[in-house]
């Protein structure tokens, strides 16, 4: 593993781990159970650069590379999947598309407060009838003078309850422009506090409970026309570019959860005695630990490879799709085995593996399901053949 990393990456990992173990680990179980977003920690993370990891220094960011980004998300997820989710979604599918597709004015306006963590970003694509098939988006933006009148019902918005700067995927003037009915998706940026912008109740989720996931509704919400991100009709391109980066973050998050489950599995297997010896001495447990360690190692290599490709400015879409698929499936398997090693205690909230097991489940669903990722990978591989 270390052959892929530089000194800087090791220093970043050590520093982030020290912070996470001191500031997040002690409250991770509590914020999960109370479904509480820990502003006190988020503010500290903002000051340290966690909300602008790859943003240039001139815009208030930390200006780190993609490998550092993966390591940071992995380390946060090792103590709290929900906080890692907040950080990665904010960085990858909110800040990154603004930075990539925004005009200089838009970047100056939105990116610095996001990069400093003073504002939180959200990516609002999913609707009741549009998820894996983004073509089903029904949200509309009707041009009216200097503004768009936006109507949208966005669901399962990560960071939704606290997000200030929201990328809304919608169709501009669909009745006047028939082509927009299927393909013409655009992105407008809506800001909390604008009349007509409301958030729904928090979703009562199985895992990732400290993340304020909720619906965001825009009802005749007047958004200035200059808030259009990129060109009209370029929404899918923006979305796909964001998700290429986003899925690498989710892969790193799944990796961090799996790593935590592996560590807890090893710890418990050494500590728990049955039949007169630590259960780690039983072959059945050793087999589980061996599988867990191997899968986590493989997932880590894949995540770092995708990040390295991105840093080298080489195509990384397939590598990041593979990393996301494998890391998510690994997180599911490894957390399941960690629960198994713990036996009845693993099914209790008294041990953290119960939380890891719940948190891991969604990594196979969001930022593209495992099934969609297999489709993307198959398409890419078949084209190469």
């Amino acid at each position: 593993m270390d052959m892929l990393l530089e000194e800087k990456h090791r220093a970043v990992r050590q520093s982030v781990r020290r912070f996470c173990e001191r500031e997040i680990k002690p409250i991770a179980a509590e914020i999960d159970q109370e479904a509480r977003f820990p502003w006190e920690v988020i503010e500290k993370m903002g000051r340290l650069g966690y909300f602008g990891i790859q943003v240039p220094e001139s815009l208030g960011g930390a200006n780190l590379d993609a490998v550092s980004y993966a390591i940071i998300v992995e380390e946060i997820a090792r103590v709290s999947g929900a906080i890692a989710l907040c950080v990665t979604v904010h960085n990858s599918v909110a800040v990154f598309p603004l930075l990539t597709f925004g005009t200089p004015d838009q970047i100056q306006k939105w990116v610095p407060p996001l990069a400093r963590g003073e504002k939180i970003g959200a990516f609002c694509l999913t609707e009741p009838n549009a998820g894996s098939d983004a073509g089903g988006i029904e949200a509309t933006a009707i041009a009216d003078g200097d503004t768009f009148k936006v109507n949208a019902n966005k669901v399962f918005v990560t960071n939704g309850g606290v997000a200030d700067t929201c990328l809304i995927f919608c169709r501009i003037n669909p009745s006047q422009d028939p082509s927009a009915a299927r393909t013409g998706i655009s992105v407008v940026v809506a800001e909390r506090g604008t009349p007509g912008f409301t958030t729904g109740d928090l979703e009562d989720l199985c895992g990732m409970r400290a993340n304020p996931v909720c619906s965001i509704r825009l009802s005749d919400c007047r958004v200035p026309k200059e808030n259009l991100l990129g060109k009209a009709g370029n929404g899918l391109k923006i979305g796909l570019a964001a998700l290429d980066t986003g899925r690498m973050g989710i892969a790193a998050q799944a990796l961090g959860i799996a790593q935590a489950a592996l560590e807890e599995g090893i710890r418990y297997a050494n500590q728990r005695h049955q039949f007169g010896v630590p259960i780690a001495r039983h072959a059945s447990i050793q087999n589980m630990i061996a599988d867990m360690a191997t899968q986590v190692d493989a997932a880590r290599l894949m995540v770092y490879r995708a990040a390295l490709l991105k840093d080298k400015k080489q195509p990384f879409s397939k590598a990041s799709a593979m990393a996301k698929l494998f890391a998510a499936e690994t997180a599911a398997k490894v957390t399941d085995l960690a629960v198994q090693i713990h036996g009845g205690y693993g099914y209790s909230k008294a041990y953290p593996v119960e939380r890891y097991y719940r948190d891991a489940r969604v990594t196979r669903i969001y930022e593209g399901t495992s099934e969609i990722h297999r489709m993307v990978i198959a398409k890419s591989v078949l084209q190469e053949g």
């Binding site: 220093a11 520093s15 930390a62 550092s68």
Partner: protein, 258 residues
């Protein structure tokens, strides 16, 4: 004000067999974090610069860069094959030469000990070689009308020392200050850019091979092995209040609390 903080790269895990120092296994000695923070707070209060000085193999450069990410102005690595196998006396002699090379300075700071060897000797010995006053376990550095007062805490006592004038050496108590986290951006910059780490070999600081390393060390570590701790489980009977009383009494008698 010029503060020099001596820091050490320590090995994370307990060695099995021969110990090798590699970057992935090494971290900044946790006790030195407080010394760095204290030096940075002195700089914030009185201006000046902070130098982080480390003696060790090239892998130690990493902790100097980390110190720079925390806000230290320059990192100096005292590095030479001749330093290998230095004991605390040879280490203190070497650091003394480097500190003289970096003089003038006002404060020379150390952690109270290193997490790996745990001797706590290098700070006091270096002060002794330099022939400057030394205050251990400092919790606070105050100044009024140009006079510095050092607070120290040890064994449940708080002491205050007035300082005639710098330079002074001190070790910093682990409860003295809250060490800052470097920002992610500062970490990236410290490791990425052409931030120079000054490397000094023995000739640069005016030392000769016979003064350092194995030749300059009157003590030699023959072996290090873990102690087999025999644990005995003792059951305390009675209702919980009585159990608690008995437990506290036993702990007090053992000198573990009180």
């Amino acid at each position: 004000m010029h503060s020099i903080v001596c820091i050490k790269s320590v090995v994370l895990s307990t060695p099995k067999g021969r110990m090798s120092r590699s970057p992935e296994k090494s971290v900044l000695n946790p006790f030195d974090r407080w010394a760095l923070e204290m030096a940075l707070q002195i700089k914030e209060a009185h201006g000046g610069t902070v130098t982080a000085l480390s003696m060790g193999p090239p892998a130690s450069e990493s902790i100097l860069r980390e110190a720079m990410a925390m806000g230290v102005d320059q990192g100096v690595l005292l590095c030479d094959r001749a330093f290998a196998a230095s004991d605390t006396l040879a280490t203190s002699r070497s650091l003394t030469a480097a500190v003289r090379h970096l003089s003038p300075f006002d404060f020379l700071l150390f952690g109270v000990c290193a997490a790996d060897s745990d001797t706590g000797q290098v700070g006091p010995q270096t002060a002794s070689f330099l022939d400057i006053p030394m205050v251990g376990h400092v919790t606070r550095v105050e100044s009024a009308n140009g006079v510095f007062t050092l607070h120290r805490q040890l064994d449940g006592f708080l002491e205050q020392y007035e300082l005639a004038s710098p330079p002074v050496a001190m070790t910093i108590h682990p409860a003295a200050v809250e060490p800052r986290d470097p920002t992610l951006g500062a970490l990236g910059t410290a490791f990425d850019s052409a931030f120079p780490i000054t490397c000094l070999d023995i000739a640069a600081v005016g030392l000769e091979p016979r003064q350092v390393g194995v030749f300059g060390s009157p003590t030699r570590v023959l072996s290090v092995k873990p102690v087999d701790k025999k644990r005995v489980c003792e059951w305390i009977q009675g209702d919980p209040a009585i159990q608690a009383d008995i437990l506290v009494e036993k702990l007090v008698k053992a000198g573990l609390v009180g």
